[in-house]
């Protein structure tokens, strides 16, 4: 399973989403879009959003910390 988390250091939902994935022992790649311009534009292309977090689970895009959707995609 390939999971990418696009986040910024100050975003509270990003912190919670990452903590949640860690609590489930799920590995993920993290991109700080506040410093990584390439990742930021990749995130906007994928999601059409100017907001974080955006989570890419095997190409399925989750906008925000949507725990229910995240659960269904990582289970």
């Amino acid at each position: 399973m390939e999971i990418k988390v696009y986040s910024t250091p100050t975003c509270p939902y990003c912190i919670q989403a990452k903590k949640y994935l860690e609590s489930k022992n799920v590995q993920f790649q993290e991109f700080d879009v506040s410093t990584d311009r390439e990742a930021a534009s990749e995130m906007i292309d994928k999601s059409g959003q100017r907001g974080v977090p955006v989570i890419d689970v095997n190409g399925e895009i989750i906008i925000g910390f949507d725990k229910g959707r995240l659960d269904s995609l990582i289970s």
């Binding site: 910024t8 100050t10 975003c11 509270p12 939902y13 990003c14 912190i15 919670q16 879009v33 506040s34 930021a40 999601s47 059409g48 959003q49 100017r50 907001g51 974080v52 906008i63 910390f65 725990k67």
Partner: protein, 290 residues
């Protein structure tokens, strides 16, 4: 530092305070008398009253009860909550710290109607400068609001851009004296807003007088923050704007509890009082175990 700060002085908040203060927790309750319960003329389905009671009377009695037991009650608006291990609560008049927080602010209401506002959520419209401010580095952003809450959001956005306009939507600015000097740093437009529009992302804001302005981002901070706004700032899990809690009224953030209408479900005085009691008990346990 307070052991607990309770935001909201309705049935849930006051009920919780009765428990925390009787357990010798230093308790501060912050809220305003602006709820729908305050305005309710007839309450007939709450236990213990043989005669019809007015909402205002019930709330005033609750406040007196909490005060008699030792709770401090502050008639003020909370602008923001920050922190993790302990919490900083900013109000219009001051700043307070607490080990635990109970959000009991009632049902979040839609406060402002602007055409296309929802359409551009995440595409220029944001409700959280901390979360999304970065995307507007050196761009033109607006804050929709007229109170200390709006000004606080504008101040937070200064970390990203200097081109910030406060759109009051036809209202006069209501800024507390502690922030008066800060207002001078921002453009203020007091026209009524009726529509926003753009392409893939937000581009324009339109006013009722027929004029418009280009804009890249619009942060909504209208009136005072609701439970849903606090949730966004802290990363609290919500479902349809209702704060998700477990059976102990705990949110996903340690030390942050929620009770009453802001948690959704059966929105009644009796359920709010019950949830407040559970929250009070669990806050006592939480603070004692720190």
């Amino acid at each position: 530092m307070y052991d607990v700060i309770i935001i909201g002085k309705g049935p849930a908040g006051i009920s919780a305070s009765l428990y925390t203060v009787r357990a010798n927790l230093k308790t501060l309750v912050i809220g305003k008398n602006d709820s729908s319960l305050w305005k309710a003329e007839k309450i007939e389905n709450y236990y213990g009253f043989s005669q019809v009671i007015r909402g205002q009377d019930l709330l005033e009695e609750g406040e007196k009860q909490a005060t008699r037991l030792g709770a401090e009650i502050l008639n003020d608006k909370v602008i923001s909550i920050e922190g993790n291990e302990h919490f900083e609560i900013l109000t219009s008049d001051g700043k307070f710290a607490a080990k635990a927080v109970l959000i009991a602010t009632g049902q979040p209401l839609k406060k402002v109607r602007v055409e296309n506002l929802e359409l551009f959520e995440g595409k220029g419209v944001s409700y959280c400068s901390t979360c999304d401010g970065f995307f507007y580095n050196n761009l033109k952003v607006g804050v929709l609001g007229y109170s200390d809450y709006a000004l606080h959001e504008a101040i937070e956005l200064e970390a990203f851009t200097k081109d910030i306009t406060i759109y009051t939507n036809g209202k006069e600015l209501e800024i507390n004296s502690q922030f008066e000097k800060d207002v001078e740093r921002f453009n203020v437009v007091d026209k009524q807003v009726y529509r926003i529009d753009g392409g893939e992302f937000l581009q324009k804001i339109f006013f009722k007088d027929g004029t418009s302005e280009d804009i890249d981002g619009l942060f909504v901070a209208y009136e005072s923050p609701s439970s849903a706004d606090f949730a966004k700032k802290l990363g609290i899990v919500t479902d349809n704007n209702a704060i998700t809690v477990d059976s102990d009224q705990r949110t996903n953030i340690p030390g942050v509890f929620a009770a009453g209408d802001c948690t959704g479900g059966f929105k009644q005085i009796s359920t709010a009082v019950g949830q407040g009691a559970v929250a009070g008990k669990k806050i006592i346990e939480y603070v004692r175990n720190l």
